[in-house]
């Protein structure tokens, strides 16, 4: 490396040094430390004691671990496809040349910037069995009241429906992807006599499939780590119906002070999400089209 190149590299490192210091101290060190803690019995204030795979073996025998894993899988399977469909649908609509389009785009993005806790408290009222807007609207169509957050059968569907509230970011990303679709393709489809639905299915979807993959992977990662909304709205109930992985991990770490156990849970979650990402990428080879 020449002197000039070394100088430029040093300058680049200096330039990013504030971020680098923060990343190493607040991200990398805790990540590496938690790998170690996952093989120890660590109760915060005492010296960690090495226990090998004991935490992982105990987790395999813990009913609440499997309950939380199942509930999180339920949430991922329900919310990710729903959010992708909704985001793509609204992005296609917001891509049309309609009056006040910019205002509409802003309106659909605003929920993303509302603090999550405030949203959760708001949605507790909306989901209220008596007097909540959702049940009142269903009542107009003579649909009986649904005990959304107070029923073990309906609590998780309520949270899945709520996830659509935060599709602002995927909508923006889909909009960017839709801009990249060449208009000549639409013209060609139109000339071939394709209708709107055929155009959407045979032109738009294949062309934005990389964006669908991107949003899908991000959606899985986000859904697997869901915590704030179920913690505020249902605290994992009723009857552990919304006890997601994040809440169980939080309980073990900060309520029962079993940091080693919670670290093991965190790394299992990482492996699960990593595995799902690899599967998504493998599946994408067949269904995602790159130009």
């Amino acid at each position: 490396m020449s002197k000039t190149q070394r100088g430029e590299m040093l300058l680049g490192v200096l330039f990013i040094s504030p971020w680098l210091i923060g990343f190493i101290w607040f991200n990398l060190y805790p990540i590496v430390a938690s790998i170690y803690y996952s093989f120890t019995s660590f109760h915060v204030i005492e010296t960690p004691q090495w226990v090998g795979l004991n935490n992982f073996v105990t987790l395999a025998q813990d009913d609440l671990f499997w309950t939380s894993l199942f509930n999180t899988a339920y949430y991922i399977v329900g919310s990710v496809p729903l959010d992708l469909l909704a985001a793509l649908f609204f992005a296609v609509l917001l891509n049309l040349r309609v009056p006040l389009r910019d205002l509409l785009r802003t309106c659909y993005y605003i929920p993303t910037v509302v603090p999550t806790v405030a949203s959760a408290i708001l949605w507790i009222m909306l989901f209220n069995t008596h007097g909540g807007i959702i049940n009142e609207t269903l009542g107009v169509f003579r649909i009986p009241e649904i005990p959304w957050l107070s029923s073990p059968n309906w609590a998780m569907p309520a949270l899945i429906l709520l996830s659509v509230w935060g599709i602002g970011s995927p909508v923006i990303i889909f909009l960017a992807g839709l801009q990249d679709v060449s208009t000549t393709l639409y013209e060609a489809a139109h000339l071939d006599g394709a209708g709107p639905l055929q155009t959407f299915w045979h032109v738009t979807v294949p062309m934005v499939s990389p964006v669908i993959l991107f949003n899908g992977v991000l959606g899985i990662i986000g859904a697997a780590q869901v915590f704030v909304v179920p913690y505020i709205m249902t605290a994992g109930g009723p009857l552990n119906a919304t006890l997601v992985y994040g809440i169980e991990l939080f309980q073990n770490a900060f309520v029962y002070y079993k940091m080693g156990y919670a670290s093991a849970m965190a790394w299992i979650l990482f492996l699960v999400v990593f595995g799902l990402t690899v599967v998504s990428l493998q599946v994408s080879r067949r269904y995602v089209h790159y130009e």
């Binding site: 504030p18 204030i45 005492e46 004691q49 209220n128 008596h130 007097g131 009241e145």
Partner: protein, 491 residues
């Protein structure tokens, strides 16, 4: 185009960027460095305050310095002021209006009379299981003293090593177990050590809405004394709308009051402190959950009850809004109730009890505790302050103004004290009956409490019978105890 000589005199882009980056990094590192210890304000020494008139002789800790002190804190610089006072950072969760006022006054009064210590009143809300307190202790930045609004963290903190035993201070401060209510003493003295000083303790009794009973044609002056009486009234006073939704609830054991308390009135108990054994799947505990099951049937299921209770937010409760006829009420409620429900006409009496169980049976709900965190910078000075805060004058002021129960029997039963807290007479009378059940002080109590709620829900939702739910709970708690002892062999 600039000449070579003028270009060499100008600051190059590379040099400018280098200067900016190095400067920013320096500022960031300087900003992240520890602040210099702050000097406390110099306060002139004040004479010691005299004991208030009417306070009974008590063995509550005085401000005397202990003969020996457990020094656990690493060596740290003293925050000495020009007057030589050591600052003790006192973390407390008193962010409510009344609590904040009282603690502020007590801290000010202590600072005026202390020549060696200056206490700093730092309000740290107790949200999320006191996580901030634990984080501070774990990171080596423990405050000088901690006050909690409930006792359950104390058990956990003691077993995990977050707080320091106060055995030596017990002797030097003349604290005697016999002066305390046994149920209060067991909150702070367990597993062979004294872990804190108790400021007050809480428990619930029965409150009923006189107007609702009168409207239903029931004698509003006579309280229900047995569970059968409560069940009959509950059936009479529960009202539903055409869809089966609840408009008014007569009584529901899981809306107010703990499962532990409502089990106690059936003669049940989940934990035996004397043997440190859990007694979960006993016949009386099963009967208590069968009683819960009967209310789930009466009210149309727990989801209907949850839908009903979710209508009330903030300080408003179904009882204050006169839509719940009977509830469990803590002794600290009557003093604030006139502000929240000025038109409410209510009566209070002992909790109802199941057949064969003495009238006046109840269970402690919690209490305010002062503890010394591990790693407190100045333990002796901290204990001087905490001893004063748990001393007769400060404890009396708190309990009179907050309408709480003092932990020392002589103070609680003193006529002068009761005259100052007339609203609390029924609670004090119930203590005299002597049928209170002590709290659980096992290290796995937080886990047990969470799983007990799940077991209760399984019963009320009809997923499990009470016997099976409690048997499963017992197995889970046993597994946790084994895990705890495996990781804490010396505990």
């Amino acid at each position: 185009m600039a000449s070579r000589s003028s270009a060499s005199r100008r600051l190059s882009r590379r040099a400018l960027v280098t200067t900016l980056v190095v400067g920013s990094a320096s500022v960031a590192i300087a900003a992240c460095s520890s602040p210099a210890p702050a000097a406390s304000t110099a306060a002139p020494p004040q004479p010691t305050a005299a004991k208030p008139a009417g306070s009974a002789a008590t063995a509550a800790p005085t401000a005397a310095k202990p003969a020996t002190a457990p020094t656990t804190a690493p060596a740290q610089q003293a925050a000495a002021s020009s007057a030589g006072k050591v600052e003790v950072d006192f973390w407390n969760p008193a962010n409510d209006k009344l609590g904040k006022k009282i603690i502020g006054e007590l801290v000010d009064e202590y600072n005026k009379q202390s020549t060696k210590v200056s206490a700093k009143d730092t309000i740290v809300p107790d949200d999320s299981h006191y996580a901030k307190y634990v984080t501070a202790i774990a990171s080596g930045q423990a405050p000088g003293g901690i006050m909690t609004y409930d006792y359950t963290p104390i058990v956990d903190w003691a077993s995990q090593g977050f707080i320091v035993p106060l055995d030596s201070y017990q002797t030097s401060n003349g604290i005697k177990e016999t002066d305390y209510f046994p149920i209060a003493w067991q909150m702070i003295d367990f597993h062979g050590h004294l872990w804190g000083f108790l400021q007050e303790f809480d428990f619930d009794i029965l409150a009923w809405n006189k107007s609702l009973l009168q409207k239903a044609g029931v004698d509003a002056a006579t309280p229900p004394k047995t569970t059968d009486d409560v069940d009959k009234l509950a059936a009479q006073l529960t009202q539903k709308d055409s869809t089966g939704g609840l408009k008014q609830i007569g009584f529901c054991p899981w809306i107010t009051g703990s499962t532990l308390m409502w089990t106690a009135i059936w003669g049940g108990s989940f934990y035996d402190a004397s043997s440190d054994k859990w007694t979960i799947a006993t016949d009386n505990n099963v009967k208590a959950l069968e009683w819960y099951q009967s209310y789930a049937k009466l009210l149309g299921g727990p989801d209907k009850v949850t839908s009903f209770t979710k209508l009330f937010t903030g300080d408003q409760t179904p009882f204050y809004s006169e839509q719940l006829a009977m509830e469990a009420m803590g002794e600290y409620i009557p003093i604030t109730l006139p502000d929240l429900a000025p038109k409410l006409q209510y009566g209070v009496a002992y909790l109802p009890t199941a057949p064969g169980i003495p009238y006046g049976t109840g269970q402690t709900d919690g209490g305010n505790v002062f503890v010394l965190p591990k790693g407190a910078p100045h333990p002796d000075e901290s204990m001087d302050f905490l001893s004063w805060m748990a001393g007769p004058k400060a404890v009396l002021q708190w309990n009179v103004e907050e309408n709480n129960v003092p932990p020392v029997q002589a103070v609680a039963f003193d006529d002068n004290f009761i005259k100052q807290v007339p609203l609390m007479k029924t609670w004090i009378d119930m203590l005299k009956e002597g049928h209170m059940v002590p709290p659980a002080t096992s290290p796995v109590t937080p886990y047990f409490s969470d799983q007990l709620n799940t077991a209760r829900d399984e019963v009320t939702y009809g997923k499990q019978s009470p016997k099976n739910a409690l048997t499963d709970l017992a197995k889970k708690v046993d597994a946790q105890i084994q895990q705890f002892h495996a990781s804490h062999p010396n505990c």
